[in-house]
């Protein structure tokens, strides 16, 4: 995911990545990353939890807007199912 983000960014597209393995993002260095403590297979949250899914997208878009440093990684405060 981070590799694709880097290619898009180099082409002139501002990117933000979701990520479930922070150490991978630290190595690959996508331009902007939101780390979520969710399991593989559910990057936006649990099935049917529309509020969490939308909230994660809005958090990611906030990183897109506010990040000023290449390689920024922000940690989402959300915990798995904690919002349900």
């Amino acid at each position: 995911m981070g590799l694709i983000a880097r290619v898009l960014e180099e082409a002139g597209i501002s990117t933000v990545c979701l990520n479930m393995r922070r150490e991978v993002a630290e190595n690959v260095k996508p331009p902007r990353t939101l780390f979520v403590k969710f399991p593989f297979g559910a990057p936006l949250g649990p099935a049917g939890d529309l509020e969490t899914q939308r909230g994660v997208i809005l958090e990611a878009l906030d990183v897109l807007v506010k990040a000023t440093e290449p390689g920024t990684i922000l940690d989402s405060p959300r915990l798995w199912r904690s919002t349900r």
């Binding site: 880097r6 082409a11 597209i13 501002s14 190595n27 297979g41 099935a47 529309l50 997208i57 809005l58």
Partner: protein, 163 residues
Amino acid sequence: MIDTEALQRTHSITREKWDPNFDWVVNDSAPWTPLRQPLTQTAMALVSTCGAYRRSLDCPFDAANYYGDPSFKEIPVDTPVRALDFAHTHYNHEHVSQDPNVAFPLDHLRALEAEGLIGRLVNPAISFTGFLPEPRQLMQETAPAAAKRLMGIGAQAALLVPC
């Protein structure tokens, strides 16, 4: 440099099971394209690596390939999410099978577009399948082709969703 035990473990397993030459990609810096307009005026693309494809319309990704499938598919953004299936053998499909929006959030992005929170949702969305221990073809061919396609349809930003 592999700097954590978890990465070492994945490195060893991937070499044993799939690709004896696997190594993590490590970069010293990140590229940067500043967002040049407010989100409300931004043409936003969705790019997912969860292996989504349109049931009965697209040929599924070659998810069984040990070296992965570096190709991508174009998913029209008016596709009902219930028409999506997922070809990817390296994550639990429990959630995407119940609710494709957890990995390919077309409903949410269409809503954000309708509410004016993003300028527009770029059509089509782009779908890759993520397990790719040898990413050379992705980096040299398919990801640049996806970037060119997205630039050609006016994408200014992209939300990238892994699995």
